[in-house]
Symmetry: C2
Subunit: 616 residues, 2 copies
């Protein structure tokens, strides 16, 4: 029986850490070799981390990445039985998003990504030239097609070309940014691709947080019938090992006359066949001798292992929560921070942010700071304290009222004759921002901000105030989902971690007496679906009316979203968990007169306005 | 003699302002018709403004732009003698960066941009499908090739294809972002393209500021020998009218046997010939009657006007200064602001920023605010006052010392046992930021920040402090250029506007006693060329050593630039005047372990670090 033992190494590469990534790769190689793997596959751009962005424009960076590849090729000689597929940046006249196939101290071949995504968070046309060849690598007598990420999403792309040209296994290496629900979507596509082409698809994905992006691992293998035979962990490093039954692929194809005919009809000048190795040839026997060359269709000394591990998919909330924890941990640690500070207001957003930080960094590395003012309720202060106590984190109280009084006094001549309003509210938020930034500067703590997507969308946040900080954990989490995640997390611990009072109280910024979010915004159960329609789905005013939303609310929310673009431009990065997050995913001009409501042709529209509106 | 009277309308479109842009276009059409023009050309995406960015992903926006085009086609019926070329977004299955050719109430034809720039500040592959056809439009008996911006930069692109297919005039419509020196470069290319193809090149460019970008106008026409025959204004709206001598193009081609042969040899299935109109056909005579159709090679009733206007190029400093003024004015007004506030410290950066703001908005619309602390020198305070007096602007003084004392007192328990340092310095800067944001919130003033490119590059600025504001006028201006521009501007006014003491004093942030920039940074005449090499030219450490820079300085500066990426990510937008500005032009990851110095393979490197360093 012909088999191939494959290992998918979903590693957590760090962008730019060429030495560290090489070390991570070598560690996994040693482990895969120990597990008897014939082939070990690493993610897209595993050597450089993904996405390297404009580091790719630095010739020195590309050269160093090639040096790292050389080193890897050199080191591979220590593992004569293992072929490696690994993502790197290749340089010919231009640069390519490439996969190297390495065996026993030799760079056997290279594949260049053909479909370069340039939408959403992706800018690959900015950097890479597209490849044109779809080679087949013969590895241990097995025909293996290698391609990269986006390539496999196209039914007429290299995957199918390689299948027609004889591939029995497709290795698809990925750096696929997470959003909630993407996993299902992805697996359906991969199963279809495997079944349609009658071959095994092995999909390996990066793991880790990189600025806004989460790579969630969950590497998978589908057999030639489209059945799932292995799945790695979600949001954690993992090594997925599986024995691939190549005979079964062969039999499937032999008995499918349509497929036979298709293959016979297929002529392909674009498909070089590259002999990497017969795995059996070079695996040393018990006495350390190399086996002689044998026909590639026979590998009788190969025993099938037990079935590969199939990690169970988590529920939606668990999956999102894990992504938020991973994103927070990786942004903190990969940027050289150990500890984080969070302004704990007694509200739900800062409470959930604190719990996520504790899960990511440990309670000993999280500092909560309460900054009460004349408008803070007693409940808020005691709830904040109770949360900190339950989590066992360090808790500071720094009242801002004397600063606030000094600020009002200093501004009194300039403000003479005006009514207190937004300006006075924002001063408090900015004094808080100044305070936690001072703690950050003094003690080297990363500031985590607590604003959610509903606030970021409507501009219901103070720039340089509650928005001040290094990383915005909940930036892509709508308020209604904040509540769901809080309840999910509370259900995991007996008695819960977030005090019930925090979940039950009505949301308020507490920047003036008796302030409520609902003074400025529609109720969140109305607001959030509307924001999804407008921000994530680009619905027009008319379409949102047709969806049943109230016209005046739609107009108000569209205006809030449009005019707070300037705040978002200066917001810290946060973790993308939806199909369209604020940040690199959504690139709107600051200067824009387009309102799109009710219709630009029904009379004159007001000039764009920026300075007013909900908390600026 | 065959002639074509052409008008190039370099208008200041506002992104998203479909109605306003349509109005601007119609105004220029009336003017061009009055001047007897046969053909009027508007910039690339003149209808939508450039770049519309992700507005293009909104189906409603694209639909509204098509409605605006319909309206323009409809209105064109009022100008029967004038053909229009105008940029818009066309939608077939995908969307295209398109040029419409409109005549007398009819959309005669459309050209789709073929070369979509996706580097630097450009993301056109994110939005557009590339065109494949290079049509020729016969306008008033003249063969006119239309193409868009990037298309003409390629010697083998549509420009040459259209020339081979018979074009006598090339109309190239543009939205070409400014940087200092680009004009010369661009004109050399256009002259070459005209002479090489033996035809007239008419280049029309957008004018105005859009977020980071300046479009500088300076539309030009080159004749078939590559001689400049018209040039519009730099950084101002303009209508360039010129009579094109088509006979001369015909004669040149007739007498160039190489060109004859090339054309004979040329077969082109890709070049549709579209008859728009014979201009002479539809121009009414003195009695209002339409002329009958005539052979297109004869237009004897056509008198050559005096030679077209050729605006003189300004000097480098004048050109840059004008771009900064335009950028500041347009960002302010296009975002609905009338007035701007600037923190005037008594230093050169805020002084130059204030003068630019006054030139852009008028002295009555600029408010200076001095926020002295215990570390502000008497000279700084009086210099700030003198500057405000000379400019005749409103000047507020709001001391921050009582706020600073209150902040130190509130933080005293948390800071117990630590030495004063960076944290205390930054508190002052952030209290100033809080103060001018309060003025902004209260009075609706736009906050202009004063940081220069040397500071932005090295992170020598306080996030949420001096970096707090809506627009960063000098963000792309190195410190040494700040001085040059200050001297340039002073030379324009008798006695100067910026007090000489401000120019002469040693740069200091005045956040602690006797602080000097030179405590933290190399001298600016050393720093700025080094930053240019590293930030703009992506030089490696080794290359910078070879350029003669000191190794330890290079290492220090590279580290400063790398580790302040997180500050720049939250910085306000500023005006791009170099080939690589911070912002959309330079997209580096926040999380990056790449150091590139001295060499990543010469031993272990330190973990990435963010929290420390010059003012954070």
């Amino acid at each position: 029986m012909r088999h191939l033992r494959i290992a998918l190494a979903q590693i957590n590469s760090v962008v730019g850490d060429l030495e560290g990534n090489l070390r991570r790769i070598l560690e996994q190689m040693a482990q895969a070799a120990g597990a008897g793997a014939d082939l070990i596959c690493f993610p897209e751009l595993a050597l450089t981390g993904y996405p390297p962005e404009d580091l790719l424009l630095k010739p020195g960076f590309v050269a160093d990445n090639l040096r790292a590849l050389d080193e890897l090729v050199h080191c591979s000689a220590e593992y004569p039985g293992v072929t490696i597929v690994v993502g790197f940046v290749d340089r010919q006249v231009d640069i390519y998003n490439a996969a190297a196939v390495i065996h026993h101290g030799r760079l056997a071949g290279v594949y260049y990504k053909q479909y370069l995504p340039n939408y959403g968070v992706f800018d690959e046309n900015r950097y890479f030239q597209a490849g044109t060849l779809s080679p087949i690598f013969e590895i241990g007598g097995v025909q293996v097609g290698v391609n990269i990420c986006e390539d496999i999403w196209y039914p007429t792309g290299p995957a199918t070309l390689q299948a027609y040209a004889g591939a029995e296994v497709l290795v698809n290496i990925n750096a696929s940014p997470y959003f909630a629900g993407k996993g299902d979507f992805r697996e359906k596509m991969l199963a279809t691709r495997a079944a349609d082409n009658g071959l095994i698809v092995a999909y390996v994905n990066l793991v880790g947080g990189q600025d806004e992006l989460i790579f969630d691992g969950a590497s998978v293998i589908f057999d030639q019938s489209g059945a799932l035979i292995a799945r790695g962990k979600h949001c954690a490093e993992d090594l997925v090992v599986a024995d691939l039954d190549i005979e079964a692929v062969f039999r499937t194809r032999l008995h499918d006359p349509r497929r036979r005919q298709e293959r016979l009809a297929f002529t392909d000048g674009q498909t070089p066949h590259i002999l990497v190795t017969d795995a059996a040839n070079t695996r040393p026997d018990q006495n350390g001798r190399q086996h002689p060359a044998r026909p590639t269709l026979q590998q009788p000394d190969y025993t099938l292992s037990t079935p590969a591990r199939v990690e169970k998919p988590q529920g939606r909330l668990a999956e999102i929560y894990a992504a938020l924890v991973l994103g927070t941990r990786d942004y903190t640690h990969k940027n050289g921070f150990k500890q984080a500070v969070i302004g704990i207001s007694g509200g739900i957003d800062s409470a959930l942010t604190t719990v996520i930080a504790v899960d990511a960094l440990g309670p000993e590395n999280v500092i909560g700071v309460s900054m009460p003012s004349r408008y803070s309720s007693a409940g808020s202060k005691s709830d904040a304290q109770m949360l900190a106590d339950r989590l066992g984190i360090r808790f500071l109280t720094i009242p801002i009222d004397s600063m606030f009084s000094a600020a009002l006094e200093a501004l009194a001549p300039a403000f003479a004759g005006t009514e207190p309003g937004l300006a006075e509210e924002n001063i408090q938020a900015r004094l808080r921002g100044t305070t936690w930034m001072a703690l950050s500067n003094k003690f080297g703590w990363l500031v985590l901000t607590a604003g959610n997507k509903s606030e970021m969308a409507t501009g219901y946040a103070t720039l340089y105030g509650d928005m001040a900080g290094g990383f915005a954990v909940l930036k892509d989490v709508f308020k209604t989902l904040v509540y769901d995640l809080a309840r999910y997390r509370n259900a995991l611990a007996p008695g819960g971690v977030i005090p019930q009072a925090i979940i039950d109280k009505e949301p308020s910024a507490e920047l003036r007496a008796d302030q409520r979010d609902s003074d400025s915004l529609p109720p969140y159960p109305v607001l959030d679906p509307l924001l999804r329609a407008y921000v994530e789905d680009d619905r027009t005013y008319e379409e949102m009316l047709a969806m049943g939303f109230d016209g005046s609310i739609v107009q108000r929310v569209m205006a809030l979203v449009d005019k707070s673009e300037y705040k978002r431009r200066q917001a810290p990065p946060g973790i993308k968990i939806t199909q369209r997050a604020f940040g690199r995913d959504r690139r709107l001009p600051l200067t824009s007169a387009y309102r799109g409501q009710p219709s630009p042709w029904s009379g004159t529209r007001a000039a764009p306005e920026k300075a007013s509106g909900a908390r600026s």
